[in-house]
């Protein structure tokens, strides 16, 4: 295990895509300390910011990076990683696990926006809250998360799973607006409430909201009431209203919304 502890509090954003098991593999402590990161517009090295402790010898397959301390201003940790594990004891900044291809990231605190954006595989687990754009596409792009799993135990922000093309996002708390916007494929599960406009412009995939939603986007049509819904191997018992949409995009996405939590949606039942 390689442990990184911040030497001091970060004042400006730091871009540190080199903090990744793929990069650290087979490097000595000295070599790791020389890896370049950006602090604002200044070139720095990892050694300038972190104390590095190299644990017992580790092969590249099992390499684990532990970050102890507050790295809420450090971005792009684990970008493009494909192996190993990153454990973060505190908060973490934006773009965690961007374009990740494998491995595991665990965050004990909160994560910034863009967790797992464009990720292809692997697992990210956030024990606290996550920001906006979990598993989203880069701005302007239509290639969001394509595979893998993101689990958020707290709340997540707006536009969770924007342009998602595969994989699974689980949020045990509540989500902001536009969960699953532009979604093409994959699954989003929300244990808590949604602030609304769930699934806008989605053309495929599945969104499950177990909590309260203010309303359904008018371009969705009710299909049926389902007693339960399956998320991979797991079965969630409802009952759920099931909607198809977004018809404005000629979409065929499925939106499941809890019946018991949303009595104000009962008027949809007359269209069944």
């Amino acid at each position: 295990m390689i442990t990184l502890s911040p030497k001091h509090i970060f004042k400006v954003p730091v871009e540190a895509e080199c903090i990744s098991p793929d990069v650290f593999a087979e490097k000595s402590t000295k070599e790791i300390a020389m890896l370049q990161i950006w602090e604002g517009n200044r070139k720095r090295t990892i050694g300038d910011f972190f104390k590095i402790k190299h644990g017992t010898d580790s092969s590249s397959e099992e390499i684990t990076i532990r970050i102890s301390g507050d790295v809420g201003k450090v971005r792009r940790i684990g970008a493009g990683m494909s192996i190993g594990e990153i454990i973060i004891d505190g908060d973490i900044g934006m773009h965690l696990g961007e374009e990740m291809e494998g491995g595991i990231i665990t965050v004990a605190g909160n994560a910034g926006s863009w967790v797992g954006s464009m990720m292809k595989n692997g697992t990210i687990e956030v024990k606290g809250n996550a920001g906006d754009y979990v598993g989203a596409a880069y701005r302007g792009s239509t290639r969001g998360m394509g595979g893998g799993t993101v689990i958020v135990h707290g709340n997540a922000g707006n536009e969770v799973g924007c342009f998602m093309r595969g994989g699974l996002i689980k949020v045990y708390g509540s989500v902001g607006e536009f969960v699953g916007i532009h979604m093409r494929k994959g699954t989003i599960f929300v244990q808590g409430n949604s602030e609304g406009r769930a699934g806008a412009e989605m053309t495929g995939g599945k969104i499950v909201v177990c909590g309260w939603v203010p309303s359904i986007v008018p371009t969705f049509t009710i299909d049926s009431i389902r007693p339960k819904v399956k998320i991979n191997e797991e079965t969630i018992t409802g009952p759920f209203y099931m909607f198809f949409g977004d018809l404005a995009e000629d979409g065929n996405g499925r939106l499941y919304v809890s019946q018991t939590q949303n009595p104000h949606l009962a008027f949809y039942e007359k269209y069944l």
Partner: protein
């Protein structure tokens, strides 16, 4: 053979003891590349940049001691555009399709595009006054007006995009053939093309009319392309071309719909091989993710319907329209692969390299950085065969490429990438290494006498990607593919001298007041606006 350079020109000889000497023995030396058609500046390019942050994200250039940083793959920022051209040994770049209203913006961006000389073509094919003059048969008045427009917008050639169609698009319509009437103007595309061709001759413009045909990007449109070429056949005098059909690949589709779409390159090549009044450029398609942008609003709307992608469409007041749609050309798509094949078929089936030039219609067919790949395809059957093996089966079955043995020589490559283009543009100091030419020189690290480009196409491709030296106006600007000096090129524009004074009548002023958002007084670009202007005086016959 030695080349001597003094004061930015190629001269007979210099004093070798005092001169800096570059040893280019065993290397390929060519004039600096000339690109006749690539969208690098202006309102639509900039809207494309705004539309596509994901394009920037993928391709980042880091600042060095001499270069600025920049971003963009299919629509790079202005400085990056200049650097990338210079690295490939290009020194002159023509920006087509400038809406006259956006001339100021276009020139501001061109002024910020380093390393290359440039010019831009104003869009005049759907300009209200042109349409009105042509409707009334007033060719000379039209010529005087175009002369004023050239000086007002600091333009270089008459660009015609989907003649008549753009005006019709303002009313949600399009024109379907050369004899379809333009709504409210009662003028046909044939009259516009012929009229402006006559105007071009009256004004003695250096370049011919630069035409993007009607029905672009629609199956069966090779007939429209042929008709457009035929419609000015009688206006030709001697061997001088009178029309340039740009990005011809996009208007060489056969078939009645996308299912039956196939190549019309053979028919177009046959016509061009028998006629001297026409020049073409390829508009080659590259299998990549790019951004399409043309002034052809209806065509872009069609592309949006096809892809469902994000898009921009715009009506530029009384002048033209425009549209932008991001697009991905896929090897496995029969249509895209056929398009790829058509571009190469055109370049290989047209026997005279002085009639067809290499472009990708950057960024419509792909970014200009793919030129080395096209050179490899043109020079090597093996390279073509390799790509053919990867494309859609349906497209492969229909492609004419397997039956074409021709492989271009280095001499022919020099023609299609610089000499031919310079000749078509009548840039007499570009595209050759004779005494008196501008000292724009590209040196590539391959020995043309020893290498067999047919087999070693990868080496050729690599060499064309990174010039060993690029010399711009007598200064070494690129060494081993690295920018060593940042310089600014000139902006050419045609200063037409008419015998009739180009006075603007009250009628025009009144119309500016009524129809434009810009007042007549603010419309023309003053000479001092350009950072490095290079007016080309031309004496007109009116």
């Amino acid at each position: 053979m030695d080349l001597a350079i003094r004061n930015g020109r190629i001269v007979e000889r210099v004093d070798e003891k005092k001169a800096e000497v570059i040893d280019a023995s065993g290397m390929l030396v060519m004039p600096g590349g000339v690109d006749i058609h690539c969208h690098i500046a202006g309102a639509e390019v900039n809207s494309g940049r705004l539309l596509r942050p994901e394009d920037h994200f993928r391709d980042v250039e880091v600042k060095t001691a001499v270069t600025r940083s920049g971003v963009g793959y299919s629509i790079p920022s202005t400085f990056t555009t200049g650097y990338r051209y210079a690295r490939m040994g290009y020194t002159t770049v023509m920006n087509p399709s400038m809406p006259p209203l956006e001339a100021r913006h276009t020139h501001e961006e061109l002024d910020d595009t380093p390393m290359v000389d440039k010019a831009t073509y104003p869009l005049l094919g759907d300009w209200w006054f042109v349409l009105e003059h042509l409707r009334d048969g007033q060719i000379e008045e039209c010529a005087a007006h175009v002369a004023w427009m050239m000086s007002a917008t600091k333009g270089y050639a008459i660009k015609i995009v989907n003649p008549g169609g753009l005006e019709a698009w303002g009313f949600g319509r399009n024109v379907k053939n050369l004899d379809d009437s333009v709504p409210y103007f009662n003028v046909t595309p044939r009259e516009i093309v012929r009229g402006l061709c006559k105007v071009n001759k009256l004004l003695n413009m250096p370049h011919t009319i630069h035409v993007h045909t009607n029905n672009l990007g629609k199956p069966g449109n090779y007939i429209t392309a042929l008709e457009t070429m035929k419609c000015v056949e009688d206006l030709a005098e001697g061997k001088r071309p009178v029309i340039h059909i740009t990005h011809c690949q996009f208007c060489a589709f056969k078939g009645s719909d996308w299912q039956t779409m196939s190549s019309g390159a053979e028919e177009i090549a046959k016509y061009v091989n028998h006629h001297d009044h026409v020049t073409l450029d390829m508009g080659q398609v590259i299998f990549t993710d790019t951004t399409t942008m043309t002034a052809d609003g209806p065509f872009q709307y069609g592309l949006y319907n096809l892809t469902g992608n994000k898009w921009v469409n715009h009506d530029v007041e009384t002048e033209t329209s425009s549209g932008i749609v991001p697009f991905r050309y896929k090897r496995k798509s029969a249509v895209h692969a056929t398009q790829w094949s058509i571009g190469l078929e055109l370049a290989l089936l047209i026997k005279d390299p002085w009639k067809i030039y290499m472009t990708t219609d950057h960024p419509n067919g792909g970014p200009f950085t793919a030129y080395p790949n096209i050179i490899a395809w043109l020079m090597s059957r093996v390279a073509r065969k390799k790509t053919l093996g990867k494309i859609s089966k349906r497209a492969r079955r229909k492609s004419l490429l397997p039956s074409i043995d021709r492989e271009l020589s280095f001499y022919e490559i020099a023609v299609v990438t610089r000499a031919g283009q310079a000749k078509a543009l009548n840039l007499t100091q570009k595209g050759h290494l004779g005494v008196g030419a501008d000292a724009d020189i590209a040196v590539y690290g391959i020995n043309p006498e020893q290498i067999d480009p047919s087999k070693k196409y990868k080496t050729v491709r690599r060499a064309f990607r990174r010039a060993a030296y690029t010399i711009k106006d007598g200064e070494i600007v690129v060494k081993n593919g690295q920018i060593v000096k940042s310089v600014f090129g000139k902006t050419f524009w045609v200063d037409v001298k008419t015998s009739l004074p180009m006075e603007v009548n009250d009628d025009l002023k009144q119309k500016f007041r009524e129809y434009w958002t810009v007042e007549y007084e603010n419309y023309p670009i003053p000479d001092r606006f350009l950072h490095f202007p290079a007016p080309i005086p031309v004496k007109a016959e009116v």
